[in-house]
């Protein structure tokens, strides 16, 4: 982390903050989906009040946390790796390799800036609306808030690692759109956005909770709800750190391989 990275993050934050109408429209859409999901969850938890170890308040809170995390963590893809994908397609990426700043650090910083903007807008606004409309659960104390605050940037880093790998697939197959859609399907399902992972049937749940996507929503939500307490919080954060480090290391490795592969046409 250098002053340069902070300023890259700041620029990314400002870039996204330009589109006010788009942000408001997005918040509105998140709220509509939040309300729909709450009614469905209410119907489920009315029949089974302790499904997946959640009570109905946990489930409703989970629905809104899910809406808050969609853009913050970029579950569907997007963020700075999309810029890289475009630069790979156009060939501009060749210039990036000659800059005196590492590519990976540059894009991580830009994505963290974007994530902060989305957390403050698309994250917080729907949560407030959800809290007005429904009886939601809040983190139990300052320590839990602190753990949530640590968990969110870690989730962004894990998601960034996956999105960056997807974008880099463009070095080999030219157009990474296809990989992006496949990755989005996996992310939407295994993050617990479609249905909380706690409702997954036994074997599938055992697998899903250790996959990188579990760190997007399920881990932060369980810390928020107090479903993870004491040591379990640290275990959850450790899982996030593990995937963040592993994926970023893989990104660096793939980037080095790609660098040798890039051929600048002409000139």
């Amino acid at each position: 982390m250098t002053l340069l990275h902070v300023s890259i993050a700041g620029r990314a934050f400002r870039r996204y903050s330009t589109y006010t109408a788009a942000t408001l429209a997005g918040i509105f859409t998140n709220c509509v989906f939040g309300v729909i999901i709450c009614f469905v969850y209410t119907a489920v938890w009315d029949q089974r009040p302790h499904a997946g170890g959640y009570d109905v308040h946990d489930a409703l809170t989970y629905a809104w946390l899910g809406q808050a995390m969609i853009m913050t963590v970029a579950v569907w893809g997007g963020g700075s790796p999309d810029d890289l994908a475009e630069r790979i397609r156009s060939g501009d990426v060749a210039l990036d390799f000659y800059r005196p700043v590492g590519i990976l650090g540059w894009y991580v910083a830009a994505d963290l800036g974007r994530a902060l903007f989305h957390l403050l807008t698309r994250g917080i606004a729907p949560t407030i609306v959800g809290a007005i409309l429904f009886d939601l659960r809040w983190p139990a104390g300052p320590l839990t808030w602190l753990a949530v605050a640590a968990s969110i940037p870690l989730a962004v880093l894990v998601s960034f690692g996956l999105r960056f790998l997807v974008a880099m697939s463009g070095f080999w197959i030219l157009d990474s759109q296809g990989t992006k859609v496949l990755a989005a399907s996996a992310a939407v399902f295994f993050s617990g956005l479609t249905v909380p992972l706690v409702l997954f049937p036994g074997w599938l749940q055992n697998v899903a909770v250790v996959l990188p996507w579990a760190t997007f929503l399920q881990v932060p939500a369980d810390i928020w709800l107090g479903q993870r307490s004491g040591w379990e919080v640290l275990v959850g954060l450790a899982l996030q750190v593990f995937w963040a480090v592993a994926l970023l290391a893989l990104c660096a490795l793939v980037l080095r391989t790609a660098e040798r592969k890039v051929v600048v046409q002409g000139g």
Partner: protein, 268 residues
């Protein structure tokens, strides 16, 4: 007759062009198509997982929910495939593409909807068809029910056609508000994937009288599944879908005309 068909022929010609272009990157085309299938497929897997926890949702079984899901899924998938590109109206305005289209001798709406026509969106149609087919296997079919199912899919598609067009027109006024439309189109699709008994009575009234999404699949499905209306609406609401579809198409046409009249280019 020829007059009426010409725009459709133009639509076909423009979209065929884009299909040829998109199949050039073969690997990407197939991954996008399979990805589209999986991406909407996980929605239904989600419902299936919910039914691991509960036996019925709002008094409806998994097969009945699958029928509702398939009905609205087919409707939005067809609408999305044929007119879904209109959600990029804002960027067409920004890039000045719309001005180019206006001077061409093909109806503007046809050009906007056929622009970058994506054949891969057929994956979504197929995915909905698979669920719909599975649920249909448990329905006791009669000629009247088959007619009702046909009318449901056609009317449902037209209702979503109209919603896509009407809400995209917001972009004539604020170019980066595309996502508001999502709340009504994709949000409406998610909403109608579940039995409306899951929602409060006011929501159902709103979906009947204000934003008539209940006519996409709910009312015709009640007839096909042989269920009494849980909210006590009269039985004739179940045959109203085609009427609602025509009304919605009229509203959408009006909004589109107003939008185009209001349009003043980007200036620079």
């Amino acid at each position: 007759m020829g007059e009426l068909l010409t725009p459709l022929v133009r639509y076909y010609e423009i979209s065929a062009l884009w299909v040829r272009a998109s199949t050039t990157y073969r690997a990407s085309f197939w991954m996008l198509t399979i990805g589209g299938f999986v991406l909407t497929g996980v929605d239904f897997v989600g419902i299936w997982i919910l039914f691991h926890t509960v036996v019925s949702l709002g008094g409806f079984s998994l097969r009945e929910v699958a029928f509702l899901y398939g009905g609205t899924g087919l409707a939005i998938a067809l609408a999305d495939m044929f007119v879904g590109r209109i959600e990029r109206l804002g960027s067409m305005i920004r890039l000045g593409k719309l001005d180019t289209m206006m001077v061409r001798p093909v109806p503007l709406l046809i050009q906007v909807c056929a622009d970058e026509f994506a054949l891969r969106r057929i994956a979504r149609v197929l995915q909905a068809l698979v669920v719909f087919g599975w649920a249909s296997a448990y329905v006791e079919w009669s000629p009247a029910k088959i007619a009702m199912a046909t009318s449901m899919v056609v009317s449902g598609s037209v209702i979503f056609f109209a919603l896509f067009i009407a809400f995209a027109c917001l972009q004539f006024w604020t170019a980066d508000s595309a996502e508001v439309a999502n709340a009504f189109t994709y949000g409406g699709n998610t909403l109608t994937s579940y039995p409306l008994t899951v929602f409060p009575g006011e929501v159902v009234k709103a979906l009947t009288f204000v934003l008539p999404l209940a006519f996409v699949n709910w009312y015709p499905s009640l007839y096909i599944l042989g269920r009494d209306d849980p909210f006590g609406f009269p039985a004739w609401t179940q045959v109203l879908s085609p009427v609602v579809a025509v009304l919605m198409a009229g509203v959408a046409a009006l909004v589109w005309r107003t939008g185009v009249r209001h349009y003043r280019s980007t200036g620079s």
